[in-house]
């Protein structure tokens, strides 16, 4: 064989070796991760869906811009569940089928429960960025609740009622798990101290409360607790219209602008658990709120859903970005991510410093009691 032939053969072999090496070396590297979000973008509780989705979009944009070459690109896909648990599974199926998502964020507690079997079967990681309660803590290992404690936050209302020495309380509750858990917590605390209380479950989309108000008027309650969404604006207005002056209390959802509009101002002076930048890491929170305002050209009324969603997504991305460095080739992405999040001991976020418990719930977000002072305005109650 001539020298030229040897040279050509050597070059060909070297080229093949290079191709094999390049393909072999990069075969197990994860280039992209798809994350889905299911939240209320229309119909009800949109302040719990639109702002969080935009906050998460902001984190992902920041991550993709700053990521290192060996960190996977993250794609984000959003579906609207209209704050109705029956829409959770179709939305999840759509996200899986169309985008093959590996991680799902979902705001609605009922929706979280609804997709449990599916995510476990498909080894998808679920993160609830808004709620964290005893029921959610008991869900399967693929579920994480990176949010405030529902019981702790809603329980503040009960403590305030005790402090104000109010003796007869009616709790109007929207029929979903989150509000039910809040109402039950308030009831538990009030029962403990012997304050008379009653839970009244309202209908979905109910706007006329006149029948209930007549009854409540005769029962002469000292305090009215509204654990629900925008329709309770009508209830507040209708209660005040009949001359009831009792103290109003609300849930964490009271800063929904539609609720204020529906209440026609009667929301003012309502006390409710809430969370502002000052309750978290003020500097980081202010930075986030400025970035949000600059990107979307809008000021948030209810900052906590967006702040919590921002932290939940950032915490998750902090782990996802290590995938190509830490994950073994044979290990499933879902299993690796569970372990990785559970190993995380300390996260400095806009809501404060967070820790993840073994049951997948987080600690570190603490609400305070605020009162409404106008549309989109609140002030801390100086107890």
């Amino acid at each position: 064989m001539k020298i030229k032939s040897y040279f050509v053969l050597f070059n060909q072999m070297a080229f093949i070796a290079l191709i094999v090496c390049l393909t072999g070396c990069s075969s197990h590297e994860i280039k992209e991760i798809n994350i889905g979000y299911i939240g209320p973008l229309t119909t009800r509780a949109t302040d719990l869906g639109i702002a969080p989705s935009q906050a998460m979009e902001l984190v992902i944009e920041q991550y993709n811009k700053q990521r290192a070459p060996n960190e996977p690109k993250v794609n984000f896909f959003i579906e609207d569940d209209q704050w109705d648990k029956k829409n959770a599974i179709p939305a999840y199926n759509k996200l899986r089928k169309e985008h093959n998502i590996d991680v799902l964020f979902i705001s609605n507690t009922d929706g979280t429960i609804a997709v449990q079997d599916k995510i476990l079967a498909e080894n998808v990681i679920l993160v609830n960025p808004l709620n964290n309660d005893h029921l959610l803590a008991s869900l399967n290992k693929n579920t994480f609740n990176i949010a405030k404690s529902t019981e702790d936050a809603m329980g503040l209302v009960a403590l305030r009622i005790i402090q104000l020495n109010l003796q007869k309380v009616i709790i109007l509750q929207y029929p979903n798990d989150f509000m039910k858990r809040g109402a039950m917590e308030v009831k538990r605390i009030l029962d403990e101290v012997g304050i008379e209380n009653k839970i009244l479950e309202v209908g979905v989309g109910q706007e006329d409360f006149s029948d209930d108000i007549s009854l409540m008027q005769t029962e002469a309650y000292d305090a009215y607790v509204f654990f629900g969404y925008k329709e309770f604006g009508f209830a507040m207005k209708q209660i005040r219209e009949v001359g009831i002056t009792a103290q109003f209390f609300g849930a964490t959802t009271m800063m929904d602008p539609e609720l204020y509009d529906n209440s026609e101002g009667t929301l003012i002076n309502t006390e409710f658990p809430f969370f502002t930048a000052k309750d978290g890491n003020y500097i980081l929170a202010e930075n986030f709120l400025n970035d949000y305002e600059n990107k979307y050209n809008e000021k948030l009324f209810s900052v906590w859903p967006a702040m919590q969603a921002y932290d939940a997504m950032r915490l998750t991305l902090n782990e996802i970005k290590k995938v190509n460095k830490d994950k073994k080739e044979t290990e499933a992405f879902g299993d690796w991510l569970i372990e990785s999040i559970l190993k995380m001991e300390h996260y400095q976020g806009v809501c404060g410093n967070l820790r993840i418990n073994e049951d997948g719930t987080s600690r570190g977000i603490y609400f305070s009691l605020y009162e409404s002072t106008g549309k989109g305005e609140v002030s801390l109650i100086n107890e």
């Binding site: 403590l159 005790i162 020495n165 300390h346 820790r355 600690r363 609400f367 107890e383």
Partner: protein, 495 residues
């Protein structure tokens, strides 16, 4: 010792010094690296963590005291954050550090105490928060007292114990940190000193060894050079003595042999030259007498003959030509054999004067062919042998006259200019010219004649070439048949 060995030893020593430096440097660098890692990954971060833990412990203690004095929901949130997130986080960090310590390390006990006390602090704070839940609880003197007792008798001592434990750990880690820093500094200093000392040793030893090797080589080279110069100056048979048995000594032996052989060859040649010179001398003198006798006899014979007879006249003419020719050849041969060693006869000569003298001698011959000679001496003087320079002018001008072209008037141009180390004399004529392709070898040979029809012995150009070369010069020619020739005479410019 051979040069090769000397060089190997010299370079080998330097390589050993360099290797020693590399090894020692690597060892020190390795130790420095470990010390740096200890500082960066152990002492430094632990000190920072302990400092943060100390601040956290004090913050929690202050919060406990302020919170029990006034109801403040935000303070409760802060205590919750410290108890739920920060304390477990620090506890976990400290446990991780503790796991890296050996069982008999005194720091381990301190870490374990802090971990236990922190755990108690978490439990006590949770209990405290449950005692004072509402503002009414603050108005309940029993609850307030219970909380205050709990703080003063339980949490405060724990805060103090944690603080004390951290202080003691900080003291030890500070000592460890300082020791590591000093060790790192000492390692770096040692590395620097060793590099410096070995560098100096390497340079000094290298210099000494190189000097020794170079000197031994140069000494031999100078001796060999001296021998070569002597041999080249004709002092054959000279010998040199070199010390040792290296490659240069071997070369010296070879040169000694060469010098000895050259002496033998030269002596043999000299004998032969002498023999030849004697032979030529004898031959020419022995031939001269009979030729002169022939000439005398020829004159005597002519007196008794009828010179009017055509045949006799013709014989007489032929005889005269032949005897003149034989006489001239013998005279020239005598000149050649008598040419001795170079004499110290150089003098400052004006070229124009030399030319005039020669032109005067040849005036008749030049006039006979209606020739014309011109000169242009850019450089007018030369330090040379007068006898030889006249011979050069005489031969080259008379050759030009002899071999002039019958088809044109003879023109001879003589120029002089400086070319490098030489004075170049150019004799240009428009005569018959020479076919250099075929005649160049013959041109300067003894008794070689280009044109046989003209008179001449063919010894002139041989003679002037030999004379010029003896004085360190050279001669060259450019010529074209039926156009003319230029002879270039290069004389060593000594003025």
């Amino acid at each position: 010792m051979k040069i090769q060995k000397k060089l190997i030893i010299a370079f080998g020593f330097l390589i050993i010094v360099l290797l020693a430096e590399i090894v020692i440097n690597q060892v020190i660098t390795y130790r420095a690296k470990n010390t740096f890692i200890e500082l960066k990954e152990n002492s430094g971060p632990t000190l920072k963590l302990l400092d943060e833990y100390k601040m956290l412990n004090r913050e929690l203690g202050l919060l406990n005291n302020t919170w029990v004095a006034n109801y403040d929901k935000r303070a409760v949130n802060k205590i919750n954050a410290l108890v739920d997130v920060e304390l477990p986080h620090f506890k976990s960090k400290i446990s991780t550090i503790n796991k890296t310590l050996t069982a008999n390390d005194s720091k381990s006990k301190l870490f374990e105490d802090i971990i236990d006390q922190s755990e108690k602090l978490i439990v006590l704070n949770k209990e405290l928060i449950n005692i004072l839940v509402t503002k009414q609880d603050y108005e309940d003197k029993a609850k307030l007292k219970e909380a205050r007792i709990m703080i003063s008798q339980q949490t405060a001592p724990i805060h103090f114990m944690i603080d004390d434990g951290i202080n003691r750990l900080q003291s030890r880690y500070n000592h460890q940190y300082e020791s590591s820093q000093n060790e790192l500094l000492n390692n770096l200093k040692s590395a620097s000193t060793i590099i410096f000392i070995l560098g100096i040793i390497g340079i000094v030893v290298g210099f000494i060894v190189a000097r020794q090797v170079v000197n031994s080589i140069l000494d031999s080279i100078y001796k060999l050079s001296d021998l070569a110069q002597k041999v080249s100056a004709g002092k054959f048979g000279m010998q040199t003595k070199l010390k040792g048995n290296d490659e240069l000594a071997l070369l010296g032996d070879s040169l000694n042999i060469m010098s000895h052989r050259l002496e033998e060859i030269f002596n043999k040649n000299e004998d032969k030259i002498k023999e030849l010179q004697e032979f030529a001398y004898i031959a020419t003198h022995d031939l001269k007498v009979p030729v002169d006798n022939i000439k005398g006899l020829h004159i005597a014979l002519m007196k008794g003959l009828d010179l009017e007879d055509e045949r006799t006249k013709q014989i007489k003419e032929y005889l005269e030509i032949s005897t003149d020719q034989a006489s001239r050849i013998i005279a020239d041969l005598v000149k050649v054999t008598q040419e001795g060693d170079l004499e110290d006869d150089e003098e400052e000569l004006r070229l124009e004067n030399v030319f005039k003298e020669v032109h005067n001698n040849l005036r008749m011959k030049i006039k006979a062919v209606d020739g014309e000679v011109s000169t242009a001496f850019e450089y007018p003087t030369v330090k040379f042998s007068r006898r030889v320079l006249i011979s050069i002018f005489q031969n080259l001008i008379s050759n030009a006259v002899k071999y002039h072209s019958p088809n044109r008037k003879l023109k001879i141009d003589i120029t002089a200019k400086i070319e490098g180390d030489y004075l170049c004399l150019a004799f240009t004529d428009n005569g018959l010219g020479i076919n250099l392709k075929t005649q160049r070898e013959k041109l300067f040979g003894l008794f070689k004649r280009i044109y046989t029809q003209n008179e001449g012995s063919g010894i002139g150009l041989y003679m002037i070439k030999r004379s010029i070369e003896k004085y360190g010069g050279k001669i060259d020619v450019k010529s074209e048949v039926d156009v003319g020739s230029t002879f270039y005479v290069y004389l060593k410019n000594k003025t």
